[in-house]
Structures are given as C-alpha cells and as structure tokens.
C-alpha cells in the first residue's frame, strides 16, 4: 500500500505539473477548453432536460417506457465503455514502457496492475464523467431533485456503473491473453468481436423497442406504472437495467426500491473489483509474459523476396516523395492492430446504421414528423462521420511520432504532408458520409421520387460536411499533436480530441440550423403541396459551403502552422 501511494504521489505530481504549466499557449488553450467544454455541458444539460420534458409531457410516453429507453441507452453506453476499455487497456497494461520499467523494480505485480488499471480508467473516462454529469443534471432538474441527488447518483451510481464496465473489460482482456497464448492473438480477438456483436444483436432482438412501445400502449393511460411483466427475464441481470430501475423508482418517489437497485449495483462492483484483484494478482504477470511472447512471435522478419501488396521496392502510379508517403501511411496503418480493429468496428456500426435506416418505414405522412426524422438522421449521420474522423483523422499528425524528424528534415513541404493526410482522410470520410447520406435518403425517396432534391442535397451536404470535419480533425489534431503517444486510441481521447469533437458537433448544429427552413418548406411542398422554389435551398447551400470551406481552410492553416513549429 505504501508503494502504491508512493507511485501515486509522483504520478499526481507529474500530472499536475503538466496540467498547470503556465504559459500563454496553455492559458489560451485552457480558456478555450473551458468555454467549449462548458458550452457542451450546458448543451447536454438542456438537451437532456428538454428531451425528458418532451417525452413525458408532449408525447406522454410514460415513466416506464422512458426509463426502458434509458436502460437501452445505458446498455449501449456500458458496452461502448467496456469495449473501449478492452482495446485501450491492452496498450496500457501490456504494451506500456512504464509497465516494462516497473517490472524491473521490486514492486508487486498487483501494485503495477492497479496503477495502470486506474490510470486507464480515469484517463479514458474523464470526458464521459462530464457528459454523464451534464445529462444527469438535465434529467434530475426536470424532476426537481436536490443537489445531493446529483452528487450521490454521480458517485454511487454512474461512476461505479462505468467502473464495472472497466473491471469486466480487464477481466475479459486477461482471458483473451490466456487464450491468445494458446490459439494466437488474432483468432481470439476475432472470436471476442463476434461474441460482442452477437450479444448486442441478442439484446436488441429480445428487447425490441418497437414491440415494447406497442405493448406499453395497451396499458395507456397507466403508462407511469411499473410494467415489469413486459421485461424479458435476462434484463434483471444487466447493470444498465439496475441504473434505469433506480432512476425509475426515484422518479415515482419509491426511494427504498430505488436505493435497493443502487445497492445491487454497488455490491456487484465491489464483488467484481475483488475478483479482478484476485485474478490479476495471480495472472497479470503471467499474461504480461504471454503478451511479450505474442509480440516476439509477431516480430519475425519479413521475407524480402516475397512481394507485398504495397511494396516500397515496386514502382506504382505515384512517384517520388508522394509514393513514399502514401506507402508509409498505408503500411503504418495496416500493421497497427488497434487501427484495423477499430476500423472494422466502425464499418460494422456504419453498416448496421445504414441497414437500419434503409428499412425505416415512414408511415406517418405528417410534415413535422418527416422533417424531424430527416434532420435526426442527417445529424446522426454527421455524428457517425465525426466519430470516424475523430478516431482516424485526428491522430494522423500525432502518429508520425518521434520519427517525424525523418520527414521534417527531408526536402518535403509541410503542405504536402498535410495535404496528403487530408486527401486520405477526406477520401475515407466522404465515402462513408456519402453512403450514410444515401441510405438516409432512401426512406424519403418514396415521397420525393419525382423531385429528387433530397439525394442531391445529401450528396452536397456529405461533401461539405466531410470537408469541414476532416479539416477540423486534421488541423486541430496537428495543433494538439502529441508525438510521444503511440496509441491512436489514446490520442483520440485526449482533451484536444474532445475539444475537436465538440467543435465538430457545433459545426453540425450550425448545418442543421442552416438547412432547417428550406427543408421544412420542401417537406411542406410534399405533404401539404405548398409551392417550393428550388432556389430557396441554393442560398443556404452556398452559405453552408462557404462556412465549411472557411472551417476547413482555417483548420488546415492551424495544422500547417503547427507543422512548422520547432521540432
């Protein structure tokens, strides 16, 4: 314990020194971060508050159904935190130089494990805490809860809930390492991925939201009652359900039953943490040795005679520096497992999204509902594209790492380096944005077949959105570049990355606001036959194009400036 606290003290000191380093740039960054984070927190608060009011008062969904939706969202959140922790903790627990260093010192392995585990949890979850708290505040204010509710729920429900996801993730990871020692890393990770996808699919198959709505509607108007007979049995074993039940009973004033669910959660967290410590004390060091073995096996020399798909020795269509840069970008990407795994995850999510909205049956021919549905799909597509850009474009400059000296001292213009990264990012993001936009428009083609304005609008908005989103991520990724961090996931979860993501969200909101009026008129023309002048979308479209170009240009200039900074 003394050793644990000793290490912790120095890590905290190091963190504080880095965080409170006073310089003009850090102060400006700090103020900028505060404004954007503050703005985002306020936005999340109002969103959560208004959506709660809207769902409970306008649509009269009822407490039960609303909390089941919360349960579903919490389930997705739990799985996301869990999967994220599996991926990130592999780097933190098994590939960190700090762990290798500590292993040479007389420190118990469990102390090293606990440090890295907590480091991993707090590093990757700080922003999520902020978001969770802002959402909780919005939700709780609607019900008029006191301040101690928010503090209590945050510390005794939401943080333990995320902590449970992280504990389970690391247990899964240690299991993976054990199996990987026997069957190889890639097959085991592939199997794990299939298990996760299967689990999510099973969850939504068993608790189908549409079926649930229909079932609850049979009880109308008694939809605030506890309709647990509609719940599939397995829900009782899910932590997301316990949190939702806690909130539900509190909302109904049944504090005792609510607290009992929080108690179940806390006991599970304590039990899971105890199991984790027990397993780690016996198995962490062994699994660390396995990871070394796996890394050593992966370090067999390449056969120089064997031609690869992309080979530096062969000539391609491109020439000189451009050829070298493209091949380097490709090889460094495909040889980094976390990049490939995350890309597959993103593609699966995009495919799921595209498949779900492609089958959307828009039966209600009401202008407002169609318009809101369209805008929600538009914004959600933008959100998906922004996530892809954040994960793959934002770290692009940082991932040059300390080897960047080779490029910086070579006769290659920084503009060319950044432009190539932009082109690659834009190609991927625009392709995704186009697919998502196309799929989002399919359900609406039934109404607008004769006037195919929406597909064109989708194509152009995908283009402008991709331009700005890629520019923002690349430029700010360059500005906040951290060349010492080799893990792309950690780069994409830094404060700078969060700031960039929030800027992207602000841009998306601006786009939605710009297109709100012309789209509203367009949908009115479809359903209530109000005349629609196509030129009325040209002005907002031009405005959106100008804003996107400006955002992209300014961000590119910021990134370029950072590439010219002293190395």
């Amino acid at each position: 314990m003394t050793l644990f606290l000793h290490i912790l003290r120095y890590k905290v000191r190091s963190f504080l020194n880095a965080t409170f380093e006073v310089s003009s740039i850090s102060v400006i960054r700090g103020i900028g971060s505060l404004l954007v984070f503050g703005g985002f927190a306020v936005g999340a608060y109002y969103f959560s508050n208004n959506i709660t009011a809207f769902v409970l008062e306008q649509t009269r969904t009822g407490l039960y159904l609303y909390h089941r939706f919360i349960s579903m969202m919490l389930f997705v959140f739990f799985v996301a935190v869990n999967m994220g922790n599996v991926i990130v903790s592999y780097s933190t627990l098994y590939r960190s130089g700090e762990v290798s260093y500590f292993m040479t010192k007389p420190i118990p392995h469990i102390t090293i494990f606990l440090h890295k585990f907590l480091d991993n949890f707090f590093y990757s979850s700080t922003t999520l805490f902020l978001v969770a708290f802002a959402v909780l505040l919005g939700y709780g204010t609607y019900f008029g809860y006191s301040w101690y509710f928010f503090a209590g729920v945050m510390f005794f429900v939401l943080i333990p809930f995320m902590f449970l996801a992280a504990c389970m993730a690391v247990l899964v990871l240690m299991g993976v390492m054990r199996l990987a020692g026997r069957f190889g890393f890639r097959p085991v990770m592939g199997g794990l991925f299939a298990v996760y996808v299967g689990f999510i699919a099973l969850f939504f198959r068993s608790s189908n939201p549409v079926r649930l709505i229909e079932q609850v509607n049979r009880y109308y108007p008694n939809v605030d009652n506890y309709l647990s007979q509609l719940d599939p049995g397995f829900l009782n074993y899910l932590p997301s359900h316990w949190v939702a039940e806690f909130l539900f009973f509190l909302a109904r004033g049944d504090v005792a039953r609510g607290v009992s669910h929080a108690g179940i959660l806390l006991c599970t967290v304590a039990g899971m943490f105890a199991v984790l410590v027990l397993v780690a004390s016996r198995y962490y060091y062994k699994s660390w040795l396995i990871s070394l073995k796996i890394q050593a096996a992966a370090s067999a020399p390449y056969d120089p005679e064997k031609a690869n798909v992309v080979d530096f020795r062969s000539s391609g269509l491109l020439k000189g520096a451009l050829e070298s840069l493209v091949k380097k970008e490709y090889l460094t990407f495909v040889r980094e497992p976390s990049q490939v795994i995350h890309l597959i995850v993103m593609l699966v999510l995009t495919t799921l999204f595209v498949a779900s909205i492609g089958n959307l049956n828009l039966r209600i021919r009401v202008t407002e509902i169609q318009l809101v549905t369209y805008l929600v799909l538009f914004a959600f597509g933008g959100f998906l594209v922004s996530s892809v850009a954040l994960r793959f474009v934002y770290p692009a400059v940082s991932l040059e790492g300390n080897a960047f000296w080779a490029l910086r001292s070579a006769p290659v213009r920084p503009e060319a380096i950044l432009a190539l990264k932009f082109a690659i990012g834009f190609f991927i993001v625009f392709f995704l944005a186009f697919v998502v936009s196309f799929a989002s428009n399919v359900p609406f083609l039934r109404f607008s077949g004769r006037t195919p304005l929406l597909p064109w609008f989708g194509l152009f908005s995908a283009f402008w959105m991709s331009l700005a989103v890629v520019g923002l991520n690349l430029g700010l990724g360059g500005y906040f570049a951290n060349y010492n961090e080799k893990n792309p996931i950690r780069v994409a979860s830094t404060q700078g990355a969060t700031l960039t993501f929030l800027c992207t969200l602000v841009f998306l909101i601006v786009l939605v606001v710009i297109f709100l009026y012309p789209l509203s008129v367009y949908f009115q023309s479809l359903f209530i036959f109000r005349p629609f002048d196509r030129w009325s979308i040209v002005v907002p479209g031009t405005l959106a194009g100008m804003i996107s170009t400006a955002v992209c240009g300014v961000s590119f200039a910021v990134g370029l400036r950072s590439l010219r900074r002293d190395w």
Binding site: P301, F312, R313, S324, T332, N402, A406, S409, A410
Partner: protein, 239 residues
C-alpha cells in the same frame, strides 16, 4: 558546405545559442563539443531545419534553410541523437522511404539501399519491424538512411550512442570516407577520443557561445600547453 552567420536561438528568456558563426567547407569533418545543455543539439536542429533561428542565417550548400528549405534539405542528411524510426516499417522499408523523399530514381534507390545494407552489415535483421530493434540497430539504420541519397552535407548528433565496437568502427570509417569524398560533416559528440581521432577541426560550445574553435594541429598545440589531453582542454574551457 555549412555556414552559420551570427545565429541566435532563444526559448522565451533563455538563450540556447548565442550569436554563433561557423563555416564548414566541403571535405571537412567538424567536431562539435560541449557540455550537456550547451546548445549543440539546438544548433544542429537549426541546420536541419527543425528549429527556426531567432536571428542570424543558416546557409546549407548555398541555400538559406529558412527561405529555401527544400533546396537546402535536398543536399543535406541529418542523423538525430535519438534514432526514432517508424515502428511499423522494417529497416529496409525505412531506407526506401527515405530514398523516395529525396525523389531518387527507383533503380538508384535499389542500388544504394543494397549498398548501405551491405556496408553497415545490417542484412540479418533489416527486414524486421523497427519496433523490435535495439538502440544500436536503430542508430545504424538511421545513419544508413542518411547516406542513401548521397548528401553533400551531413549533420550528425551523437552518432556513437548505442553502437557496439564493430558498428562504431564502421561508422567512424564511413564518416572519414565521406569527408575525404568532399562531404562537409558536422558531428556533435561527447566522446573526446572520437573527436580527436576523426575531426579536422573542433569547436567547443558553452552556454550557447562558441568558446573554442581550432584545427587539429592548433588544438594539439593547445593540448601540449596543458597536460597533452583534450579532456583537460575541454574541462578548462567549459569550467
């Protein structure tokens, strides 16, 4: 040829390099010595175009590194003190990558890469990924990469760190051969015997200022005036 004309570099209120002027003609191997934090690496980074001088001019083979960076860098090779490589590329791929950055013809790159692999005796592990290399292996790849495009000027920061005796000998011989072939070389080192053995001229930098600069002969005369050791000269000057 390298020319530093009244070069100064400041970081905030701290002056790392103070009004430094050096000229290294073709064929000269210039040893750049100095205690830790004296300004050696800062100077080298300014020549390599990684730092912009606060004032003064850096000319590399007739090109100002700030106003004509591409032309200057085309003739230059830089070997950093920390030989970081792209972890996911093999040593061979890194050599080809660097060749491409200098827009070399494919057949010339093939030939040069084969030559440097043989010269530095790195063929046994050059097809492993760099993430599996030791410090010495990385250093050898980094020095080999500097020679692929046959530069007119080489700036090398602490080249002997991590090298085994055989590799160290190869590197020392290579640097001498390059200088003999007309390449101007600036080498920063903490190893006084290496500097004494290889360099035509030695400069000592202390607190950002060039406090000593003389040819090998001049330096030996200075050494003789003390106890005949470069170490004593160095310690006296940097006191």
């Amino acid at each position: 040829m390298i020319e530093l004309r009244s070069v100064t570099k400041t970081f905030g209120t701290f002056t790392a390099v103070d009004n430094l002027s050096i000229t290294i003609p073709p064929g000269e191997l210039f040893g750049f010595l100095g205690p830790n934090g004296a300004g050696k690496t800062t100077t080298i980074k300014m020549i390599a175009g990684l730092f912009a001088p606060t004032s003064g001019t850096v000319i590399v083979n007739g090109f100002n590194i700030v106003t004509h960076p591409i032309d200057a860098k085309r003739t230059l090779a830089y070997v950093p003190d920390q030989p970081f490589l792209y972890d996911k590329l093999t040593g061979r791929e890194f050599l080809y990558f660097v060749g491409g950055l200098y827009k070399m013809q494919k057949d010339l790159v093939h030939r040069r890469v084969a030559e440097v692999i043989e010269h530095f005796e790195i063929g046994r592990w050059v097809d492993k990924k760099a993430e599996d290399y030791s410090q010495g292996m990385r250093q050898r790849i980094s020095i080999a990469a500097a020679l692929v495009h046959q530069p007119k000027t080489i700036i090398v920061d602490e080249p002997m760190i991590g090298l085994d005796p055989r590799s160290s000998k190869i590197v020392r011989e290579t640097l001498r051969q390059q200088a003999k072939a007309g390449v101007s070389i600036l080498m920063s080192t903490h190893s006084l015997p290496v500097a004494e053995e290889l360099c035509d001229r030695i400069g000592i930098i202390h607190n950002g200022r060039l406090v000593y600069c003389d040819t090998k002969d001049g330096m030996r005369a200075f050494e003789a005036s003390m106890d005949g050791k470069l170490e004593s000269v160095f310690l006296e000057i940097t006191k």
